[in-house]
């Protein structure tokens, strides 16, 4: 009857989104009077037993470096075996790329109902009902899962990491690893920057910045705030910024604590990708920009005058010369 949380990792480190998933899984376990356990496929450099502070009692690890590269088809088989051997009934993923790849497969394999993109703990008062985002952030749906085994993927940055005391038992999980059918021939990744989907603060620029040469101040502000940089669709389409920075309906959907939009008018398609941000700041010289209607704070003014002053104020606040 336990809860099993999938721990996602890359470059030897457990992802922040998985710490949220661990905290979320532990909270469900506490609520339903059961224990939370976790599973990690592959190897990480950190001490896994320390993850016990997020509320998990035991972590099953398939300690095999060949699993450091995710293959959803192979992972699904291994996780399904772990579920059957541990008797877990509630399975938790982060709704990040890994979760989106594995959770649906697992759902179909086990005929276990999936709520993809949950935003809150399940309501177990009457059945098992999980709230999730629908209509691209414009509404929520409460979804009831009727199957015996239930799968939830929790949206990144929707559930806060809860840190307590404790250490987890780490147990080797011996499994048979099947060969991968998908072969990765090349991969590239921006390094050393804050991951857009995990960032707590995002600084984003739009057409109002006039050209790629003007992104220095966006990057400077982002660096000072330990934020990720993003952009609107026209900016990505014009190749001012790479496509993996494009947030919006056709780009990446994000939900940071703070979204700072500079020179973005706020078309409905852009809002669909950022409307789950907890606080939105809009800097735009057009007082009629629709984005101000969705914003919490705003400055009507020229970005080229306002942003450098903001950078100065942040430097002063953080004591940076």
């Amino acid at each position: 009857m336990s809860v099993l949380v999938f721990i996602d990792h890359s470059d030897g480190h457990v992802k922040k989104a998985s710490l949220e998933a661990l905290s979320y899984g532990a909270a469900i376990a506490a609520k339903s009077g059961t224990k939370a356990e976790a599973i990690l496929l592959g190897t990480v450099t950190e001490d896994l037993s320390a993850l016990g502070k997020y509320g998990v009692k035991k972590i099953y690890q398939v300690k095999n470096e060949s699993l450091n590269k995710l293959d959803a088809q192979v992972y699904t088989k291994i996780i399904a075996e772990a579920i059957s051997s541990t008797g877990a009934k509630i399975i938790v993923f982060s709704h990040n790329l890994s979760g989106k790849a594995i959770a649906p497969r697992l759902s179909a394999k086990l005929k276990a109902g999936l709520v993809a993109g949950a935003v809150a703990l399940p309501d177990t008062g009457n059945g098992f009902v999980v709230k999730k985002n629908v209509f691209s952030g414009k509404a929520f749906a409460n979804i009831s899962i009727s199957s015996d085994i239930k799968i939830i993927s929790i949206n990144p940055n929707s559930y806060s990491i809860v840190t307590g005391e404790g250490s987890a038992e780490v147990a080797d999980l011996p499994v048979n690893i099947e060969p991968y059918k998908v072969k990765t021939v090349s991969a590239s990744k921006a390094s050393g920057e804050v991951l857009l989907t995990e960032a707590e603060i995002v600084v984003s620029g739009g057409r109002g910045l006039k050209g790629p040469e003007n992104w220095g101040m966006v990057e400077e502000l982002a660096k000072l705030l330990h934020a990720a940089t993003a952009c609107s669709r026209p900016v990505a389409d014009a190749h001012w910024r790479p496509h993996n920075e494009h947030v919006g309906q056709t780009g990446i959907a994000i939900a940071p604590n703070l979204y700072i939009a500079i020179g973005i008018s706020g078309a409905i398609q852009h809002l669909a990708g950022v409307n789950r941000s907890k606080v939105i700041v809009v800097i735009n010289k057009d007082p009629e920009a629709p984005f101000f209607k969705a914003a919490d704070y705003g400055i009507v003014g020229d970005a080229f005058e306002v942003v450098p002053k903001i950078i100065e104020a942040v430097k002063k606040l953080k004591g940076v010369a």
Binding site: S107, F135, V185, L225, N244, T250, I299, V306, A313, V314
Partner: protein, 247 residues
């Protein structure tokens, strides 16, 4: 070479989102319906391009929906494709929908199944992975490029903060997003020919849904924007620090 493209009907991106029937149903009155943009602009158009390159490609579209989706299917057929299959059922459960698609796909012997990366209404990103599992096939999600050489697919996909290029032997399931293809507008010839293309209606396989929607909610309205003077941007930082406590 047979390709199956999964399409879904969604409210237009600018549609007003509201609910009726005690917040149990989406208020569909006056809503303009479109083909889910990811299904149309990326999955379908890329499949059409593959057919344009190789005339022997057979391209079928599938949707799991009631008859009210027929205009959307005709619109998709106007862009391209040889025929469409509508599984006559109405469900919001991803597993139910995936099981219907998998049943048709299994029978049809498709080499390639394309989906959009998600629908813009239920945002599950789930159907593609479920179809792949039910067919025991590899699934490459969030593809931005797709090339075919014989029976080997080379697919570039989004990763967190970057991209990677994968290779897999057909048959596979691929979910498509921006980058795969450019949006097209159907021309008059396409619209005329779509009228006579076969639209097969098949009855659903017996499948039990695993989830049901209990109710909908709208997010709480924003309190309204607090404007800071452009002459004093430092005040914004003070508010974000002291009031919002975010920096």
């Amino acid at each position: 070479m047979k390709i199956l493209v999964c399409i879904s009907k969604t409210p237009d991106t600018t549609a007003k989102i509201a609910f009726t029937d005690n917040n149990k149903k989406f208020a569909a009155d006056g809503v303009q319906w479109i083909i889910n943009p990811y299904d149309e602009w990326y999955a379908l158009v890329r499949a059409i391009e593959l057919k344009e390159k190789d005339a022997s490609v057979v391209l079928h579209l599938i949707t799991v929906a009631g008859a009210d989706s027929d205009p959307i299917i005709r619109k998709a057929l106007a862009l391209g494709g040889d025929e469409a299959i509508r599984v006559n059922a109405d469900s919001h459960d991803s597993f139910y929908i995936a099981a219907q698609i998998a049943a048709v796909a299994k029978q049809g012997g498709y080499d390639l199944v394309f989906t959009g990366k998600e629908t813009i209404d239920y945002n599950g990103s789930s159907v593609g992975g479920m179809v792949a599992e039910l067919l025991d096939l590899p699934y490459i999600s969030l593809a931005t490029k797709f090339e075919l050489s014989g029976t080997t697919a080379t697919v570039t996909r989004e990763t967190e903060g970057g991209e990677e290029t994968d290779e897999a032997m057909l048959p596979i399931v691929v979910s498509c997003q921006k980058g795969m293809a450019e949006q097209r507008i159907p021309n008059m010839k396409g619209i005329m020919s779509a009228r006579t293309k076969p639209l097969k209606v098949v009855e659903p396989a017996a499948v039990d849904p695993l989830t049901t929607i209990v109710s909908f909610e709208l997010p709480p309205a924003k309190a309204g924007v607090k404007l800071v003077s452009a002459d004093d941007p430092a005040e914004l930082i003070r508010l974000l620090h002291e009031e919002a406590k975010l920096i």
